[in-house]
C-alpha cells in the first residue's frame, strides 16, 4: 500500500480548552533544549496530563553555532486522554534561532503557534539557516501565529542584578522561554526551581539567575501585551490510575528490566557490549548500576562482546549483549554458538536506520529479518519486541526468563525511537513482579551435559566449579544421548528437530494473543509489533470513534508466534500490517497463516504518524466496503 497521510483535526489552540497539545522546543545544541523539555515534562506530569516525550538529537556531535544540522529538539505530547506517541504535528514550536525554525516549520500545523527569539535572527544566523530574507519580517509566516520576542534582551534585563558575564547571562534564555511556555499552559514552576537549586547548589548566582529568568518569562506572559489569540490554555487532567509515577525512557526501562530479571532469576548478569548509536546508552545505564548483580564489560568489538557473554553463560551467569544493526550482524556467529551449545543469552537490538551504516540516529524496524533468519544453518531462536518505552521493562524480564528457562539465545528488539522516548510509568511494586528462579544442575549421578527437561526440552545448566559436573560442549553437532561430538546423520536430524521443537514449544509458555483495542473479530485488524504501537493505537481508537469496525492487535512474541494468532487473524475480513521496513513481519504472517495481509510500509527514519495509519485504515475500509467482507 502506498503511504498517504490523513490530516487530523486541526482545531488545536482555537479554543481556550484543548484536549491535547504537541510542543516542540528547538534550538542550538548549546541552548539547553533537553533540559528545558525535561523540566516542562515534570511540570506536566505533576499537572496531571498523560504525556509522551521524544528528544531529537542532531547527528553531529557538536555542530557550529547556528547550523541547521546542529539543531537539538525536545518534543512533548500531552493531553487529557491517553497519549501513546510524541505527536504527529507540532502545535507550539519554540524556535531559539533561525536554524531551529527552518528545520521544524514543515511539521507545524496550519495556524500553529511559533515562539521565536527575535534576538537570534541576526544576519549571520539567517545565513547559516539559508534564509534569504528574515521570515519574521517577510510575511512567509503569515499562516501561523507568531509570537516574536527579543528573548536575548529580556533575559539580559532579567538577570542583570546577578552580575553574570554576558555569556552566562544569555545561558538563561532557555529558562526564560520555559517560564513563558509554563505560563501558556498553566504549569507550576516549583519543581523546576527545586531542580535548579539542586543542580547549581555550588553556584548560587547561576541558580538564582536561572530562577529569575524563569519567573521573568512567566511574568512576561502575564503582563505583556500579547498578540491576538495568545492566552493561557487549559488542558484537562487525564484520568490516570492511582499510584506512584515516574518518567522513563526505553533504555532505562530495559536496563532496569534486566536488573529486575536477574533478581527474579537469582543469577548474576554479565552485560558485554561495544558502543554504537542508539544502543550505547544501555551500556552506560548498566555501567552505573554495578551495585546490583550486574557487571559490564566494554569489549574490543561486537564479536568479543557476544563471545564474552556466551562465556559468562557457560560459567553460570547470564550473558547479555547489546548493539544496533551493524553490530548485531557481527554477532550472528556467536549467537549461533549459544544456540548450538544450548546456553542462555540475551541479545538486545536497538534498531536504527539501515542498510549498512544507514541512518544511525534514526529509527527503523528493519532488523526483523535478521533477528529471525540472520544466522547460518537451521538456528531458530525466540524473538520478542517491546512496543513502548515502558514495555521495555517487562520485555527485558521476559527475555531473561525465556533464555534461562529454555537455555537459548533470545533476541529482544527495541529501536531508536523507543530507546530515547520517555513516558510516565506507574512504578510496579517489586513484590508484584513475576519470579522464575533458575537453578544450576549439580547432581553427579549419571551426569551428562545432554540431560534435558521433558517439558521444556532445555538441557541442564551445569556450571564450572561444581564437582562432578565436568563436561565438554561446543559448536560441532552433539549426540542427543551423550552430548559428545557426533557425525551421525540420524542424530543430526534428531538434534535439528529438537532445536526447532524447543523453540516452537515456547508458544505454550506465552500468553495467547489478545486484541489490544476493538473487537476479537470484525472487518479490519491492524497488526503491529514494536514501536508502531503508539501510532496504531491512536489511529485505531480514532477510527473506532468514527464508528469503524477496526481492531488493534499488537504482537510481542515474533518467534514463536502466539498459538492462537492465525485463528485470531482469520476472524477479520482484512489485515493490515504497518511496519517501519519494506515488509518483513508480514512475510511471516502470510507464510504461516496464508492470510493475504497488506503491508503499510514507511522507511523514512521516523515513526509513523497517527494520520498515516488512519489514512491506511480508511483506504482499506473503503476497499472492503466496495467488495463486501466476510462479516
Amino acid at each position: 500500500m502506498e503511504l498517504a497521510e490523513e490530516k487530523l483535526d486541526e482545531h488545536h489552540l482555537d479554543e481556550k480548552e484543548v484536549i491535547d497539545v504537541v510542543v516542540r522546543f528547538a534550538g542550538d545544541s548549546g541552548d539547553g533544549m533537553q533540559l528545558t523539555g525535561t523540566n516542562f515534562t515534570q511540570a506536566t506530569a505533576l499537572y496531571g496530563n498523560d504525556l509522551s516525550t521524544f528528544p531529537d538529537f542532531p547527528a553531529e556531535i557538536r555542530a557550529p553555532v547556528g547550523a541547521t544540522f546542529g539543531v537539538s529538539a525536545f518534543q512533548i505530547y500531552f493531553g487529557a486522554e491517553d497519549v501513546t506517541t510524541a505527536g504527529d504535528a507540532i502545535d507550539v514550536l519554540v524556535a531559539m534561532n533561525p536554524a531551529a525554525l527552518v528545520t521544524n516549520l514543515g511539521n507545524l500545523i496550519d495556524g500553529g503557534l511559533i515562539i521565536v527569539d527575535s534576538g537570534a535572527f541576526t544576519a549571520k544566523n539567517l545565513a547559516k539557516a539559508k534564509y534569504e530574507s528574515n521570515p519574521l519580517e517577510d510575511g512567509s509566516l503569515d499562516g501561523y501565529r507568531v509570537f516574536s520576542i527579543d528573548i536575548h534582551k529580556q533575559v539580559l534585563a532579567a538577570v542583570e542584578s546577578f552580575g553574570l558575564s554576558h555569556k552566562d547571562a544569555l545561558r538563561c534564555k532557555n529558562m526564560w522561554t520555559l517560564g513563558l511556555v509554563m505560563w501558556l499552559f498553566d504549569r507550576d514552576r516549583s519543581t523546576t526551581i527545586d531542580n535548579l537549586k539542586t543542580k547549581f547548589a555550588n553556584k548560587p548566582e547561576i541558580a538564582n539567575s536561572n530562577i529569575a529568568a524563569l519567573n521573568a518569562g512567566h511574568a512576561y506572559g502575564e503582563t505583556a501585551e500579547l498578540p491576538a489569540g495568545i492566552h493561557v490554555y487549559k488542558v484537562p487532567k487525564a484520568k490516570v490510575a492511582p499510584g506512584t509515577y515516574r518518567n522513563i525512557t526505553g533504555t532505562q526501562a530495559l536496563a532496569w528490566g534486566l536488573i529486575a530479571g536477574s533478581e527474579m532469576a537469582d543469577i548474576d548478569l554479565l552485560f558485554a557490549s561495544y558502543p554504537i548509536t542508539p544502543a550505547s546508552n544501555l551500556l552506560h545505564e548498566l555501567a552505573n548500576r554495578k551495585e546490583f548483580r550486574v557487571n559490564t564489560f566494554q569489549a574490543e568489538d561486537e564479536i568479543a562482546a557476544v563471545c564474552a557473554a556466551v562465556g559468562a553463560s557457560f560459567a553460570g551467569s547470564l550473558g547479555i549483549t547489546s548493539s544496533a544493526g551493524p553490530g548485531i550482524a557481527l554477532k550472528a556467529e556467536g549467537i549461533a554458538l549459544a544456540a548450538a551449545s544450548e546456553l542462555p543469552l540475551v541479545v538486545v537490538n536497538t534498531q536504527r536506520g539501515g542498510p549498512s551504516t544507514g541512518l544511525p540516529t534514526k529509527t527503523e524496524q528493519s532488523d526483523f529479518n535478521m533477528a529471525l533468519f540472520g544466522r547460518h544453518g537451521d538456528t531458530p531462536i525466540p524473538v520478542i519486541a517491546a512496543s513502548t518505552s515502558i514495555d521495555c521493562f517487562d520485555v527485558a524480564m521476559e527475555a531473561v526468563r525465556l533464555s534461562t528457562k529454555y537455555m537459548t539465545p533470545v533476541m529482544l528488539l527495541s529501536d531508536g525511537y523507543l530507546a530515547n522516548a520517555a513516558e510516565p510509568w506507574k512504578i510496579p511494586a517489586v513484590d508484584s513482579l513475576p519470579t522464575f528462579s533458575v537453578t544450576h544442575y549439580d547432581d553427579p549421578t549419571d551426569f551428562k551435559p545432554s540431560i534435558r527437561s521433558e517439558e521444556t526440552l532445555a538441557r541442564v545448566w551445569a556450571k564450572p566449579g561444581t564437582p562432578g559436573m565436568e563436561h565438554r560442549i561446543g559448536g560441532i553437532e552433539r549426540s542427543y544421548d551423550t552430548g559428545d561430538i557426533s557425525y551421525d546423520p540420524a542424530n543430526h536430524q534428531k538434534m535439528t528437530d529438537l532445536r526447532k521443537a524447543k523453540v516452537d514449544g515456547i508458544a505454550n509458555d506465552i500468553p495467547l494473543q489478545e486484541v489490544c483495542y476493538g473487537n476479537n473479530s470484525g472487518k479490519l485488524a491492524v497488526v503491529g509489533w514494536g514501536s508502531t504501537f503508539g501510532a496504531i493505537h491512536q489511529a485505531v481508537k480514532r477510527a473506532v470513534s468514527e464508528g469503524l469496525d477496526v481492531s488493534h492487535i499488537q504482537v510481542r512474541y515474533l518467534a514463536p508466534m502466539p498459538r492462537n494468532l492465525g485463528e485470531l487473524l482469520s476472524n477479520f475480513d482484512a489485515v493490515i500490517i504497518p511496519e517501519m521496513n519494506t515488509g518483513q513481519f508480514i512475510r511471516m504472517i502470510r507464510s504461516e497463516f496464508l492470510i493475504d495481509a497488506d503491508g503499510i510500509n514507511k522507511v523514512a527514519g521516523q515513526p509513523f504518524k497517527i494520520g498515516e495509519i488512519l489514512a491506511a485504515i480508511h483506504e482499506k475500509y473503503n476497499e472492503l466496503g466496495d467488495r463486501g467482507g466476510k462479516s
Binding site: E300, G311, A312, G316, G334, V430, K463, P464, E470
Partner: protein
Amino acid sequence: MNQALPTLTLKDFASDQEVRWCPGCGDYAILKTIQKLMPDLETPKENQVFVSGIGCSSRFPYYMNTFGFHTIHGRAPAIATGVKLANPELDVWVITGDGDGFSIGGNHMMHVLRRNVNLQILLFNNEIYGLTKGQYSPTSQVGTRSPSSPTGSIDSPLSPCQVAMGSGGTFIARSIDTEAKHLTSVVKRGHAHDGAAFIEILQNCPIYNDGIFEQVKDKKIAADFRVEVEHGEPIIFGKEKEKGIALNREKLELEVIAVAGNEDSILIHNETNKIQAQMLAAMGGEDFPVAVGVLYQEEKSSFVSDTQSQLQQARDKQASLEALLNSGHTWNVD
C-alpha cells in the same frame, strides 16, 4: 566442602573421548604433558576450564576431563574473558592455534593481553592451518607452498611472542611440544602468573608442515639451534654450552660468541627487562638460536582483580530494586 584434595593423576584428567589427531601429531605430546601437570596445580579439577577456538589444536578440551568449551574460530580469548569475569575462582585456559589465535583471532588476543586478563593461553604454533588441510598461516615462513599459495606465500610472518610483547603482554614464554619437562615448567610458571600468561608452543604438524621445527627439536642438532633462557642465568647453548649470546650495546644487536674467554660478555637473562625480552623473542633465523623459556614477566595488577575491586566498591552500596525504580523524580496520582 573442599577438604584436603584427593591426589589425582594424569588419568583423572583424561576424558573418555578417543583422541583424534593424526598419528605423530605434536598435539599428543602437549596433551599428555598438560594432563600430567594438572594434579600439581592444586586447583580443584572442577575449577579447571579449557576454552578453545577451531583448529586441530582446538580439539584439545575434548580430551581433558575438566570443563571444556570448544567454541568458534578465533574467539576463545573473548569467551574465556567472559568465563573468568563470571567466576574469578576458575582457572581458565585458552587453547589456540596460529590460525585461530593470530589470523582470525589476532584482535582478541591483542586485547586480552593488554587488559592482562587472568588466563593461561597456550598457542600451538605449527605455522600452518592444519584442520582445513594445510594452507599457509600468518606464522608460515615466506615461500611456503600450500594449496592456497601454490607458488609460495609472500606474506611476512608474524612472530607470536613479538606481537604479544607489542600488545603489552605481562608473561611471555615459548616452549616445544615434545619437551615435556621444559613445557611443564613453563606452563606451571604461567599458571602461577597473576594476569595473562602467553605461551607459544612450537608444534610439529607431520602432515602439512613436517619438520618445520626440526632444528630446534632434533636431539642431534637442537643444542645449536635453541637456547633455554632462565632468569638470572647466562644465555648459553651448544652441545657443550660452548656458545653464548652477547649484546653489542653500541649497535643494540645480539651476537653469538664463544663462551670460552668471554664469560663476562655473555648476556644474563633478565626476564623483567622488556627490551631484552624483545630481542630474545626476535631471535632465530640462520644465525641465531631460538629462545625458549620465560622471555618476559611483569608484575601488574590484573584485569579480573581490578574489575572485582570496582564491583566490590559498587556493592558496598546497599542495592535495592525498589529504591532504583523509585529513584529520581516521581509523582503520585491518587
